[in-house]
């Protein structure tokens, strides 16, 4: 048995590794700059004298977030790109440099241009000059960081040149830097090598990379920090998971309670009227979109217009301080009734069909015939002899249902405003709070894999043939 467990565990490792890479990769592709999302509004101000502080705080934050490291062990790119682009900390600069490389394909010249740009910035953006010409030059120069096409770049350079010729103080500061900048720009255009994009380049970036550190953190329970409120992602998910688990466990328990009698009775008389109609009804039930049922429940049962305003529509209810436990229970129950109902019917159909199949198999076994031949009452035959044997596959079914139910509750939670994992996911997507989104994806994958593993192990424990073959 131990060997079997070990083998199954080892087989799941590559799956988890691949899922973690996908979650990390999607997180990296997400739009928006994580660093500015982390900085306060005040720190994000780029105007005038604040600009230097902005750059300093930006660099500090980026280093603190580990963004000064390469993203992954390997980097597959075109020969035009350098392997060290990650060392440019500012995301908008990095994106623009990468667009420049995409257009011109000559990294050494572009690097020279970038350095000339920074030197020009140091020469006359921070010089403290207040004249109109110097302000125009400073604006045009900072705009250059976001330009990659020859037309707009030329226009900005012309603006700076004109400002230099109008203001002698500015010219004294910035003339050499400006000359270097225009030279560098011309060199980029002259040395363009777009053909380098046809040549692949594979770089080894070493173990000191963002993925390595992220995965290490995940294994230690450090799932990163939310962009929105800087709370640890793990704590946020744990808070949300309480509600999701409560909802889903209630719903699944209810589904089993209803599904077992339906499945057993339709299996006892296969082809009977009850069997046929319950079969069609369950299939229809299975086809009902969950969000539609949830919406209909809110429209008709939380709305005074149709005289059926029986349930509250929002949230999970907060019992007051002085309420007795009975009042609190009533409040919670009234809030949770509709969401649980909306979650129950989906797994109900699935479970009932499984019960029917499993029960039909058990009823056709020899021991049932023996029990009948002994003259036992039919009730005893069905529930004591057949059902007990049909029960086992149903228990392992549970581990498969739970992850599916977690995903299914996304919409139900969103509609009923229940602060569970689904609600958290939607909210985080809308807020562009990517660490939370991909942590939830990782978490559900972990739960699914754990569920499958549990099912496998239960099967192997009950049926030795599985682990021996």
């Amino acid at each position: 048995m131990a060997a079997y467990v070990l083998k199954r565990l080892l087989l799941f490792l590559p799956t988890l590794l691949a899922v973690s890479m996908l979650a990390f990769g999607l997180n990296k592709c997400a739009p928006g700059d994580p660093v500015t999302q982390f900085m306060t509004l005040d720190e994000n101000s780029k105007t005038g004298a604040d600009y230097q502080r902005y750059q300093r705080v930006y660099a500090e934050t980026a280093v603190r977030m580990g963004l000064n490291k390469p993203a992954f062990y390997l980097q597959l790119t075109t020969a035009a790109y350098p392997d060290t682009l990650y060392k440019v900390l500012q995301a908008d600069h990095r994106a623009n440099l990468s667009r420049l490389v995409a257009r011109y394909g000559c990294w050494p010249e572009i690097q020279t241009y970038y350095k000339a740009l920074q030197r020009a910035e140091a020469a006359f953006v921070y010089a403290g000059l207040r004249s109109d010409a110097s302000i125009a030059a400073r604006t045009a120069l900072l705009q250059l960081y976001g330009q990659h096409e020859p037309g707009p770049i030329g226009a900005r350079l012309d603006t700076i040149g004109m400002a230099l010729s109008r203001d002698s103080a500015l010219a004294a500061h910035g003339r050499p830097a400006y000359a270097a900048l225009t030279d560098a720009c011309r060199a980029v255009e002259a040395g363009a090598t777009p053909w380098k994009h046809y040549i692949p380049a594979l770089y080894w970036q070493g173990f000191d990379n963002q993925y390595h550190h992220w995965l290490g953190g995940v294994l230690k329970g450090n799932w990163g920090v939310s962009y929105r409120d800087e709370r640890p992602v793990f704590a946020k998910i744990a808070d949300a998971a309480r509600w999701t688990l409560l909802l889903n466990l209630l719903a699944i328990a209810l589904a089993y309670l209803i599904a077992i009698p339906i499945g057993v009775y339709s299996a006892v008389r296969p082809g009977g009227r009850f069997d046929r109609w319950s079969n069609v009804a369950l299939l229809a039930l299975y086809s009902l979109p969950g969000f539609w049922v949830a919406i209909l429940l809110t429209v008709f049962f939380t709305n005074p217009q149709y005289g059926m305003d029986w349930f509250p529509s929002m949230g999970v209810g907060e019992p007051g301080r002085g309420d007795s436990w009975w009042d609190a229970l009533q409040l919670r129950a009234s809030h949770l009734f509709l969401p649980v109902a909306a979650l129950t019917y989906g797994s109900l159909a699935f479970i009932a069909r499984q019960v029917r199949g499993s029960m039909a198999k058990a009823l056709s076994e020899d021991f049932v015939r023996t029990a009948r031949a002994k003259g036992l009452p039919e009730r005893t035959v069905i529930w004591k002899h057949a059902f007990r044997n049909a029960l086992f596959p149903l228990i392992t079914l549970f581990s498969g249902i739970l992850p599916a139910a977690l995903a299914g509750s996304v919409v139900v939670e969103a509609i009923f405003n229940i602060p569970g994992m689904g609600f958290l996911t939607i909210e985080s997507i809308l807020n562009k709070d990517w660490p939370v989104v991909y942590a939830v994806l990782m978490m559900t994958a972990l739960l699914t894999v754990a569920g499958i593993l549990l099912a496998d192990l239960l099967y192997a424990w009950a049926d030795p043939r599985v682990r021996l073959s």
């Binding site: 994009h197 079969n279 979109p289 539609w292 989104v437």
Partner: protein, 416 residues
Amino acid sequence: MQTQEIQKKQAEDASPLRQKAMRWSMRFLYLLLFLAVFGDFIANDKPWLCRLDGAWYMPVARELLVKAGVARWPANLVNLDWHAQRYDLSIWPPIRYAAGTIDLKNSNYVSPVAPQQVEHWRFRHWLGADRLGRDTAAGLVAGARTAVWVGLVAMSIAGFIGLLLGSLAGFFGDRGLTVSRAGLLGGLAGLLAGGFYGFVARPLLWQQNATWAVLSGCALLAVFIIGLAWLAHNMLGRLPWWRRRATLPIDTLVMRLVEIIDAMPGLLLLLAVMAIVSRPSIGIVVVVIGLIGWLGVARFVRAELLRIRHFEYIDAARVAGLSEWRVLWRHALPNALRPVVTTLTFGAAAAILLESYLSFLGIGLPPEIVTWGGQIQAVRSNINAWWLAIFPGLAIFFTVASLNLLGEGLLERQKQ
């Protein structure tokens, strides 16, 4: 003995109800297909045929030609408010609004049973209208087109991938597929080169929209893997060491891939992917649904081929000297195709449901695409607009139920 009797009885008893259910499902799906194809003629804010100021026009047909870029509107008809004209004669579509028509007189959630501001009862919004006065019935017709599109295209992609990987895994198993070492090396090189030219270098050299980028990237990847493997096998494969065959555990590889994608719930994965697409479109939604929806097909084809490959006629074909690939494509796979249709119907139901979840949540689809899920979303801002919940919801329900009943019926038929 007893089991067989039970099953036989079951099949006989169940069949009339099943037959009826299947027949009605088929009818509904034909209706849906009809709406998808001829939707412009059924819900449109222009007449089919009209006589205006002494001239005859066919505005609906002309609109289609204009959309196709073949014709142009005459100067006097550009931006014409077709509802406001006095016609000598006009023949209208049954629904006199297009999905995007904004009816300002009937804006702010007009109920189907409430009085409406219309000139004639024929211009009523029979199923109500939404906040902007867009007709619900016209939205249903446009939504049918989206649903059919999602079902057909997503399942074509899923069917292709599932058939390919599932048949390889099932027919060859872990020991059956051998390639020369040269071919293996070429295939690996093709994987790297195809990944590079398909996904790293191509966006730099050749800009295009996201849907075609994903599809052409995958196609390039496949071409590179097969091409380089073939090339290496024929060139390098002449050396003795490189000619020796290596076993490719294709079954394990495919099943691991299935397991990886299966570990993430479809809706969450779709949400996570669509959330970062900068310019969402229906095409990219469909492609992503197809790329994660092939698991069922692959599993089914694999199981089917595991069974088929032990049949005698397969051995006979082998003994006759046919190559393994020919046995697979010409003898084994055609017999697995019919059951695959069943999984494709279930898959289409799941795809349509998944898309409606997505557009209900409002993530991943541009607002101008009309979908049933998107129509239902409007209920969240006005809980009294029951018609926006009922009718599109029924459309989704009937579509998904028809597909499921059809699949169920086909499955039952195969068992007999």
